[in-house]
Structure formats: structure tokens, C-alpha cells
Amino acid sequence: MSLFIIVALPFLGALLPGVMSSAGRAACAGITFTVSLLAFLGLLANLPAVLAGEVVTARIDWIPLLGLNFNLMLDGLGFFFAFLILGIGLLIIAYGRHYLSRDDNMGEFFTYLLLFQGAMVGIVLSDNILLLLVFWELTSLSSFLLIGYWKHLPEGRQGARMALAVTGMGGLAMIAGMLILGQIVGSYDLSVILEHREEIQADPMYLPALILILLGCFTKSAQFPFHFWLPHAMAAPTPVSAYLHSATMVKAGIFLMARMWPVLSGTPEWFVIVTTAGLVTMVLGAVIALFKHDLKALLAFSTVSHLGLITMLLGTGTAFGAFAAVFHILNHATFKAALFMSAGIVDHEAHTRDIRRLGGLRTLMPVVFTIATLAALSMAGIPFLNGFLSKEMMLEEAAHTKLYGSYYIVPVMATLGSLFSAAYCFRFIGHTFLGPVRDDYPHKPHDPNPGMWMPPAILVVLVVLIGVAPFLVEDLVKVVTAAVLGEAAEVPDAHLKIWHGVTPALYMSGIAVGGGLLMMLVFAPLSRLWETAPRPEAKVIFEGLVEAVAALARSFTFTLHNGSFTRYAMIGTVAIVAAGYHAWATGTVSETTRTVQAAGPVAIAAWGMLVAATCALVLLHRNRFLSLMLIGIVGLIVSIGFVFLSAPDLAMTQFTVEVVTIILLLLALNFLPNRTPVESTVLRRVRDAGVALVAGLAAFGLSIHYLLRDAVTTPISEFHLANSYKGGGGTNVVNVILVDFRGFDTYGEIIVLGIAALIIFALTEALLDGPVRARLLNRVPDQPIAGDMHPMMMVVVTRVIMPVVLMVGFYIFLRGHNEPGGGFIAGLIVSIAVVMQYMASGFAWASARLRYPYHGVIGAGVLVAGLTGIGSWFVAKPFLTSDFTYVRIPPFEKFELATAALFDLGVFLAVVGAVMLSLESFSRLARRAHVPDTEHPMDIDPSRDELASEQAGG
């Protein structure tokens, strides 16, 4: 099966359980199991190739310019981890189906689980480090969802947040490290990077890259000092703990260290950092685990400890160390997942996982006792179980490792770690299962149904099988080791066997087991001592840190962002002007190349009106109606200026927009106060005027500067002018640019316009549903309502003129491609025609005759434009490729048919819909406020009639 399908299956399948929630719990679990099984079988189909030493690849270029390619590869290491992820995943799914209670949403759970599974498989199969990073972050996110699955538990939410913060920050560091690595090698393909060992290690950026990447690995794999998140993540449901926190996610960091082993390991830096972190984690985790009373916390710290062990082995940088690490990864996955599931069963049956309230379960739960004991003994390193074999190899490796110039540090620490490890294993067995049967369990426990104990039982069978006959897996472990080592080293000629003779490792092992038993004898006083000893509480430190950072961010934000728009505008203006001045003062000013064109008296007069209107607007802006008129004058002059300066399309657009803007502002002013009161001091006004004048002067300077100089390079407009008719089939170049050359741009713009209108509509809805509604209903208009609300003259004129205006709009639309006009302008003209009906005949009258809602018109416009663009796919052309032809239907003259016209129709519809939806929303506010509806718009205000009749009657 293609690697793409293996990676995609969990992601695609993740949708199924979520939507099948109502189909029942068994169906959800069944479909999840099937999806995982398919991926698992697909993986197994690649086993022969992998065992033969081949590397299976699948490649698609995604963003080649960035070096980001969807390249996958499957070698021994990838196969091994994918096998663990999918294989244990199957057992976890079966177990989870029985573990979750009826109150839990099973579909949601399995959706998260499959998302996580897909992300993990993606990590281990990636052959591109950027792709790997994407999957890496996906595991952080999906594990956040899984850890916080029980949303009602505060511990779950806090644990999920902590895990996300720690692993997320590590992920960020790793992104930086990976980018450095990619820069050194010049490729982001993992298989390429792995071939550049010398180059990478000789580079001065090797150490920063190493530290950053290790930060990612250490946070993910809970290495000291980032180990603290893992125990808190145990608030997750047990299937999650068993899956993420024993077999898969926490192994991602280990995987990456193994993956990068050929290029990163072997240097003193690697050796010191990784070995030390591993050793410290191993001992610390084991010590803490011994004194934990919560079964899952005990297992969590034991996981931390074992991850430290594997890290330490990888850190040694020897081939034998890698060999032992691979073997221990396999063994740890089997016994630890079994232990987690057993702990989950105990919790499920006895309703507690507090080890102090348990004991004597041996006779009550014989099956679970057998499973858990075998797994725990394996973890303790008892012969004939698989944990013994890899622990022996670890001690063997430790005996030869010299750290900080001493031959004793590593062996002693390793023995100490093993000793505590044996002790907590014995405690797990002894305090949970052995001892007298108690009568105060929160719930009387008994063995669960086989659905729950079968998955761990299968794992324990493997534990025993590998422990007794390790040669069965030797080939697999060697293939994986070969993949880890790459070309950096040869696979060691060692064999997996039970008896190695009397070696230092055997002595160390013996000391560990004996010491562990001894510790159990004196556990009670030891535990009291531990309880009284002061210990740093990682959670408190972490939360203090987070709070401090958040406080810093808050003070920073609130200082800059104090809620005063005026201040932002002032700072922004001053900053822009200052930056511009800096550029002006430090740059070189080129010679003027254009001559000033003479301006006629008309131009000067128009300029005078514009300046006068602007000045009047500034001086008289307190009178709001007057300022609307003045701004209308400004807009009008700008339109005339466009006509004069060879921009007829702009003039028409500006003119029509001016009309709808003024109507809009009038509608708003209906509610706002009519005057702006004097508030700011004279000093402040002088200051503002000063800033405004300087900014105006700057704008003038910039404008005159380039108006007197030609463009530095030839504008691309030459291309537009040359190809407008030949390629676009239109002579109005502006319109051809809009609907053809830059059609995609226009497409985006009509969508923005539509969204703006929808926002206005949504805000209106929100206002009318909220407390504003009552305020509007009780509002007393501050202006007397016109007695003649629908003047007859206006009603008649607007209705008569309506078809004429529509005809004009149609004409403007059609001529747009070759003469000034087009969809934008036609849309605005038609909108004005419709708005006139609202104004003259009233809202009720007009909306009663509205056949299509304006949202629909916007949507239809975007749809028509989009479909026109998609149409070009059917002739194998890129999106929005236009075409045109000339046809002749007698007796008409020859005329043009262009797909661009269809696109322009979309623009037209979107503009009409957006403008009308905005204005209609504003009028709805007004209507709610105080305007009575009337049935007969051509009449005088009927309320006056009622008033009159009342007065007459009274």
C-alpha cells in the first residue's frame, strides 16, 4: 500500500467516528478499529521490502520553492515505530471501547485518537523535516484534545494546557533547529541531510541547531528538566495515557534522536548533553515514582525514568548503545502499555487508583493480577521477561561509559536507577495485588470482561515470548538498528540472548533487584521521610512562570493599547511622517524629468472649490448636516477631476458611490446627535492642526515629487495597453484589467464587499435583538416627522424613472468592455434606482416587492464570477482564463461574446447586493425606531388621519 494512503487513512477515517456518534458505541469503535487495521495491514505489506533492507519512498512536490515537499520514506526505524503506533493503537481502541462509560462521547474520543494516530504515523514516515515539523505540531494539538478529553475535570484541562505549553515551546525551538540544519545542508529532505554528517558537525551552527532540536526532543519525551508535564497529563482517560504516554507520543522525541543519530551523535556536545539528561531523568523519575500513591502517577514517573534510560543509551553514541536503545523501546512499549491498561482496569473496577486504598486484589482479580505482575516484573528486570534483556544491555553499555572523566558516574547512576526501578515495580505488585483482601474498597472489584483484559494480555504474551526466545525479534531489532545507525556505524555483532555469562552487568542487575527488595522492607519509614522532605513542586513553579510572563505581556499590551483611538491615530501619523522624512533626508533626490502642465481657469476654479469645501468642512464640522453637504462637494470635484484627467470610469464610479455614501450617512445621522459639541481645549486643537498640517505638507511633497518625475522602470501598463484588445477582446483597458488581467483581484474584492455588507447585516440583527431594540422602540425623534412622508411627486417620478434607470444601467453594463462603464458602475446605478424606491415609497412598500433577498444576490454574484473562473478548467486553462468570440446573427450587426462579460455580471450582482444590503440594514433600524408602516405610500401620513379622527371623536 502506498505510504500516502497509510498516512492519510487515519486522518480521513477521523471524520467517521465523529459523525457516527449516533450510530452507537460499538459502531464508533468498530469503524475506528477498521480504519486502523487497514493502515496496519498496509504497513505490513511493506514488511518484506523493509526486512530486505530497502527504503520505500513516496514523493510529491508540495512547495518546492521552500523546500517543503510531501516526501515519505519507510525504512527499518520508520517501520518499527509505525508498527508500534498502529499495532498498539489497535489494542488501545479495543480497550477504550470498554473503558469509556456511557456518558463519554465515544465518537469524539475516537476522532481525536485517529487524528493523533495519523500525526504520529506522519512523523515517523516523513522524509522532509519541514513536513515532519507539521506532523510534530499536529501531535501536540491532538494530544491536547485527548488529555483534556474530560472537559469537566479541571485537572484534565490544566494538564492539557501544561502539556501543550511545554511540548509546543519545544516544538518552536525545534523548528528553529531544523531550519538551521536545512540551511547548513541546503536541503530539507531528511535522506539528504542524513548523508552530510561531517559537513553538519563541522559547521559553527552545529551546537545551536543541536540544542534547539534537543529542546524539542526533551520536551516531547519528558526529559529532565521538562519531565513535569507528563504526570499531569495523566488526568487523561487511561487509554490515552496507555497510548500517548507509554507507547507513542513521548517516544516521538526518542524517535527523532534516533532518526538524527547519524548526523548529530558522536560529538562531545551530544554525548554530554544527552547522556546527562538521560541519566538524571532516569534516576529522578525512578525515585519519584517509588513514592507516588496514584497508580497512574507511579507509572507516569516510571515512564519518565525509562525514557531517560533510552535517551542515555542514545547519548552514548556507540552502535551498541543504539542497539540496546531500539530493543528497549520495543520492550518498554509492550510492558508499559500493558501496565497502564491494568492500572486502568483496577481504577475501573475498584473506583480508585490510590495504592494506599488497594491491596489484596490477587484473589479478586486473578487475571489482571497475572497480567500486571508479569509486566511489572519485566519492568523490574527479572530474567525470562523481555525487560531483563534490555536492562542487562543497558547496564553493560553503562559499565563502559566514561562521563566527566570518571568511569564510575554512569555505572553507579544506572545501577541506582535500576534499583529504584525494581523497588517501584515491587511496590506496584505488592501494594496493589498482594496482602490481605480489604473490605473498604470504594467498589468491590472483580475481573472485567475479556474485551478489557485481552489487549494487555496480548502484550504480556509478547513480553514473555521475547523474554524467553529473544532470537525471534533479533532480525527486526537489527534492521531497525541499521536504520538508526545509517552510514555512521556498523550494526554490532551482538546477539539477543538470556545468558551472557558472569559480567559486570549481571552484578549490577543483582544489586538492583536485591536492593529493590530491601527497599520494600523499609518502605514505610522511607515514605515518611520523603513526605516530610521539602521538594520543589514543578506545577507551582510552572504556573508561577506562566503567570509572570502573562503579567509582563499584559502590562506591555495595556500600555500600548489603552483604548484611545485618537492616540493610535496620532502616534501612527507622526510615525509615518517621521519615517518619510527620514527617507527623504537620507536618500538622494533625482532630477525632475517632467514639465509642469499648464492649468486652465476651469481647473483652477475647481481646485479652489475643493480647497474651500475642505477648509469649510474642517471649520464647520460641528454642524453635521452642513458637513455632509460639504463632503458631497469634495466628492463631486474629485469626480470632475477624474473626468478631466482621462479617467471616465473612475469619475462614474466616484459619482455613484458618492450618492450612496451620502444616503448612508444621512440614515446614520438620523440617530446620531446633529451637532458635535466642543470638547477639546484650544491647545489640543492647535496641536492636532499642527500634526495635520505637517502630514498634509508631507503628502503634498510626496505627490509633487513623483508627479514631476517619470517612473523609474517602464510601467506594466504597456503590456495592458498592447494586449487589451488582442488578448482580452475589449477596448476599455480599465475594464479589461478589472475583469481579465487582474480578474482574480476583482474576484477577491467583490467577496470583501459582500462580507462587509454581511457584517453590517449581522450587526443590525445583533442590535435589534439586544437591549438597543427597546431603546429604539421608545425613542422620541428629535426632529419632527414630515407630514408628507411619501410626496406624491417623488413617488410618481421615481416609479416612472425606474425602468429608464435600469435601462441605463443595462446599457452601461454592456458597453463596459469597450467604452467607459462595466459591472461596478452599472451595479451602483441600479442600486441607486432601487434605493430611490425605498426613499419615495417607503420601506414596507419596497420590501414587499422585493423578490430576492440581497444576501442571495451577493451570493449569486460571487457564484457567477467564481463559476466563470472555474469554467476555464474544463478547457484545461488556469482559473479565470477568459475567452471571446464575435458572432453575427442577421439582421443584427456583428457583436462580441466574451466570458469576461459573465464575470462582470457577477461583479454587478455582488455590488447591487452589497450596497442594497447595507442601506437596507440601516433603514431597518430606522423602521424599528419610529417610522410607521403604511399601506398606501402615495397618501399623506395615515397616522395623522387617525390622530385627527381621535381628536374629532374625543
Partner: protein, 115 residues
Amino acid sequence: MELLVASAIGVLTAGGIYLVLRLRTFPVILGMSLLTYAVNVFIFASGRLTVGAPPVLHDGATVYTDPLPQALVLTAIVISFGMTAVVVMIGLGAFLGSDDDHVDDQPDPDPEGRS
């Protein structure tokens, strides 16, 4: 001609910024409209000024003005209507909700409720 257009841009900018710095929503909206004019004319003028040569192809014409800034400004005019409408709606909603049309957060004028 160049001087007229450049100075018009300058005057519109200055007026717009002065009004944007006012404390009530309505003058701020007017100020932004003035700034919109200034920016649109500015972008339009980046194609340099040409009289009597609209970019509509016809026989015999050799000189056309630059059509690209015109196309950009055309959509900008329409979009700026949409944006103005949104801002007006937000301002109006704020006024209707609180009976206050200040643009800045107002410190509680009278925390003890005297009036």
C-alpha cells in the same frame, strides 16, 4: 496642473487627519472619507497626469494614460464604500448601545452616581 493635484492631496490629507483626531465618531468618519479621497487621488496620480487621453483604445490615438492605477482605484472606491458603511454601523451601534458617541474609552465620569 501637477501643483493643483498635489496641493489638493495635501489639503485633503491635512483636513482628514485633523478630523480623524476629533473625539466623536461622526467627524472621525468624515475625516476618514477625506483621507479616502486623498489616498485614491494619490494612487490615481501615480500613473502621472494626462489630459484628454482616456485608456479607451481607438484608431488614430497614440497616447493613452496609464490604465492600471485607474483599475486599482476603481475597486478601491467601491471597497471604501463598504468599509465606510461598516465603520458607520459600528459607530452607530456603539452610540445606540451606550448613548455615547465618543471614539475613545471614556473614564467613568461619575463613579459615585451623582449627576
